[in-house]
């Protein structure tokens, strides 16, 4: 097992190298020049000043040379400074990533907490009343555009009912609140973003869970278990469920990169200063150092998450565990 983990970690390095090479090539091939300045169309900014800036950012050098420089610096974990405000890129990401990760973990948790029981329930009586209603609801949730749903919920809970704040992550008077008050404040602010970002996932996951559970329940070993006289509860959760949940873990691993990328939508709608928006703005501004650093960090996170998914696979399925 230990060897397996080590081997998987070693595999990450060439993969990262490939990702960074490709990304560097793609952002440099994309038309448009980097920087807010080049693109600001401000006559007060003189051509000489721009030339000076290009030199300082090394944009006058060929792409392969810049990539080599970037690689050398990144090897010692120096991601450089952002073109837009000259702050260390790593600092910019560090202050934005926690919010995004928190919201994504919370919504991941919510997705599993809601999708698994829903899927199991539906699978017990396929085409029953509950299954039919849930199918309709799930398709509706899956198809609905997130930003639109977010705005509707904000309007309903924030303006009509005045129960929840509309946007941001803290209130204006946050610093004057008691510790418990602070927790409540953050909870109130995160409620809608987490809900909205998990609804689509719940819908998809519940569907997967349902079909996977139906499949598992049709297996001979279930009949065997029932024949043994095991309780229905034990049949469902000990025998069918364990087998049915495995594909879900694979799917979750595959959906992780989408979570960070998809964050840009709810981060914009809810005015949350997260990494998704940072990344999006960096791309629009052609802020090369920031784009590259985010690519590396997000792919690292994704690969780690995939690895974790594979490991939990092994944990759940003894057959896989014993082979290695």
């Amino acid at each position: 097992m230990g060897k397996y983990i080590l081997r998987r970690f070693a595999g990450i390095i060439p993969l990262l190298f490939g990702i960074s090479l490709l990304s560097f090539a793609v952002i440099n091939l994309a038309p448009g020049k980097p920087g807010a300045l080049e693109n600001s169309l401000n006559p007060r900014i003189s051509a000489r000043a721009l030339e000076r800036l290009e030199k300082l950012y090394e944009l006058d050098k060929p792409v392969y040379e810049r990539y080599w420089h970037w690689l050398k610096r990144t090897a010692v974990l120096d991601f450089g400074r952002s073109f837009s405000d000259n702050r260390p890129v790593i600092e910019k990401i560090a202050e934005r990533l926690p919010v995004t990760i928190t919201i994504n973990l919370l919504s991941l948790f919510l997705i599993f907490a809601a999708a698994i029981p829903l899927g199991v329930r539906c699978a017990l009586k396929p085409d029953g009343m509950l299954d039919k209603v849930m199918t309709a609801v799930m398709f509706f949730l899956f198809a609905i555009p997130t930003f639109w749903l977010a705005l509707l919920l904000m309007n309903f809970f924030g303006i009509n009912l005045r129960w929840l704040p509309v946007s941001g992550i803290t209130s204006l008077d946050y610093e004057y609140l008691s510790p418990a008050g602070k927790a409540v404040d953050i909870f109130r602010h995160l409620f809608l973003p987490v809900t909205v970002s998990s609804l689509g996932g719940i819908a998809a996951m519940a569907r997967y869970m349902r079909s996977s559970m139906i499949e598992a329940l049709a297996q001979p070993y279930i009949r065997m278990a029932r024949a043994k006289g095991l309780t229905e509860r034990s049949v469902l959760y000990k025998h069918a469920f364990r087998n049915a949940v495995m594909p879900l873990i694979t799917i979750m691993g595959l959906s992780l990169p989408g979570l960070v990328g998809g964050s840009v939508i709810f981060e914009s709608v809810f005015a949350i200063p997260g990494a998704g928006r940072l990344f999006y703005e960096a791309v629009m501004m052609r802020d090369y150092p920031l784009i590259m650093a985010e690519v590396v960090i997000v792919s690292l996170l994704t690969m780690t998450a995939n690895l974790l998914a594979d490991l939990s696979y092994a944990w759940i399925d003894p057959r896989l565990r014993d082979k290695r």
């Binding site: 038309p31 448009g32 020049k33 807010a36 300045l37 080049e38 693109n39 600001s40 169309l41 401000n42 006559p43 007060r44 900014i45 003189s46 051509a47 000489r48 000043a49 721009l50 000076r52 800036l53 300082l56 400074r81 405000d85 000259n86 702050r87 910019k92 202050e95 934005r96 930003f147 705005l151 904000m154 309007n155 924030g158 303006i159 005045r162 704040p165 509309v166 946007s167 941001g168 992550i169 204006l172 008077d173 004057y176 914009s268 709608v269 809810f270 005015a271 949350i272 200063p273 928006r277 940072l278 629009m284 501004m285 052609r286």
Partner: protein, 489 residues
């Protein structure tokens, strides 16, 4: 760091924390800020600023002429990543005979130089040993302005506290929180919960969505003349648009009032040249051309364009009159404007395609490389009217701002002259002439000047819109105690 800030939002924050030597008053005239008064000597070769006495930096250190000298040296320092060095590279030298006098010597008279001293002055004592590009000062600025920096959460909010010792007077409002809300719909929802006290509005929000009893009770809306104009810029190098009769005809064929009615819901005025009506350089005697499609067809016929093969599209020696309007993504108003123009030009037999591209591609690949027929774009005008960089014939190379490729020797001379003359009355005459000539040449089809629309919560008193907008007297705003919503603890 004010001199590194290149976007409007950071410039706004700098305005709270820092001061320049001069500033624009509510009627958009230059007036003293950190300088009490100034003199222009030797026909503009020398400007002497007499600084206000008894001004302190927010950390208690006195402000002196050495800070001005320091700011100037940093503005022209090649190591400092400022985009605004241009105006200061004209300075020959700067002297500080005493703590409260600054003498600036210029290589040649340059009238816009005076307004360039509205640049934020930064403290020498905190920055002399720092690398301005990377200094932590950028995250905890100290200025001389009405508000002190309190906290900054990137892309979330900035908090400022009143400066007790501000040299004019302590601002009445104790704390200002500026939030970043990227999505306009969210901003509008926040407004409806009362979570935002001051923000800009779109024309649709101004006319329709804020027309509710709640809004009328809680907020006041302001509509002020804008300082941007939207235009259709021709590529004058293209044989299609080099003929002035063609450009005049296109101008006659498009009804700008219709565009304003549809796109801005009536909240704007027809643009009549490179200045907007609130500027002192604006020439009110230049009137917009009427909408006259038959007249447009007559002019086009004169220029050789006629529908000779009866397919509904004008042609000239076998070439059809068709072109592409290029504009940037993300600006609904411009895209709608392009569509109306497309419709009105197809009415007279001109085929127009519209292409919308992402901003940095738009600028980098099309505008800067002159690879376009026609672009639909806007200019946001600074208060200093000098627009040499947009209209002078020497500014047509790649990356420069005369992308239309406009050349008119008379305008060239006037632009230069207007840079040399310091007397505002005389400069006004020159700019008025420039506006007349440019409007007559139609290098752009000048379309509209959108109004600036704001909403402010009713509890704020002393909000007095003027030519300069609403923010100029912010330190005088106040809220009666009974209506105060947030209290400092």
């Amino acid at each position: 760091m004010p001199m590194l800030a290149s976007d409007i939002a950071s410039a706004g924050i700098c305005g709270y924390i820092f001061n320049g030597l001069v500033k624009y008053d509510k009627d958009l005239n230059l007036t003293g800020d950190l300088a009490e008064r100034w003199e222009v000597l030797d026909g503009g070769l020398q400007i002497v600023f007499y600084l206000r006495k008894g001004v302190f930096w927010q950390d208690g250190v006195p402000f002196t002429s050495r800070d001005v000298d320091f700011t100037y040296r940093k503005m022209v320092d090649p190591q400092v990543r400022t985009p605004y060095s241009g105006d200061f590279e004209r300075v020959e030298r700067l002297e500080t005979p005493d703590d409260h006098t600054v003498r600036v010597f210029y290589k040649e008279p340059f009238a816009p130089a005076l307004s360039s001293w509205s640049v934020s002055i930064v403290p020498e004592h905190l920055l002399e040993k720092e690398d301005l590009n990377t200094s932590v000062f950028s995250r905890v600025p100290v200025g001389t302005g009405p508000y002190k920096f309190r906290s900054w959460k990137t892309q979330e909010k900035i908090e400022l506290d009143a400066n007790e010792n501000y040299f004019l007077h302590r601002p009445n409002i104790d704390r200002v929180v500026q939030r970043v809300i990227p999505d306009p719909s969210t901003l509008f929802l926040e407004l409806q919960t009362g979570g935002v006290d001051l923000c800009g509005l779109t024309p649709l929000q101004y006319t329709r969505q804020t027309d509710t009893p709640y809004f009328r009770g809680e907020y006041r809306k302001f509509r002020l003349p804008g300082d941007t104009y939207v235009y259709l810029g021709y590529n004058l190098r293209s044989p299609l648009f080099s003929d002035i009769r063609v450009r005049k005809a296109l101008n006659l064929a498009v009804d700008k009032d219709e565009i304003i009615k549809i796109v801005l819901l009536g909240l704007g005025t027809v643009s009549t040249g490179p200045f907007t009506p609130q500027s002192w350089a604006f020439n009110p005697s230049v009137k917009p051309s009427p909408c006259d499609p038959p007249g447009a067809l007559r002019l086009l016929k004169e220029a050789g364009w006629e529908d000779s093969d009866g397919d509904g599209i004008l042609d000239n020696n076998g070439r059809k009159f068709e072109f592409t309007i290029l504009t940037n993504q993300g600006n609904e108003e411009r895209i709608k404007t392009a569509e109306i123009i497309q419709r009105r030009l197809s009415d007279i037999g001109i085929k127009v395609k519209i292409k919308v591209v992402e901003w940095s591609v738009f600028i980098g690949e099309f505008v800067n490389k002159r690879d376009f027929d026609v672009i639909l774009l806007g200019w946001a005008l600074p208060r200093e009217p000098d627009n040499y960089d947009i209209w002078h014939s020497s500014r047509t190379r790649e990356g420069e701002f005369n992308f239309a490729g406009y050349t008119n020797p008379e305008v060239d001379l006037l632009l230069l002259e207007a840079r040399r003359v310091f007397d505002q009355q005389k400069r006004r005459e020159l700019y008025r002439k420039i506006q007349e000539l440019i409007y007559a040449d139609q290098p752009y089809m000048f379309i509209y000047v959108p109004d600036s629309l704001y909403v402010v919560h009713r509890r704020f008193r002393e909000v007095a819109p003027a030519a300069a907008g609403i923010g100029y007297n912010f330190i005088d705003w106040w809220v009666p105690p009974a209506e105060q919503r947030y209290r400092m603890r």
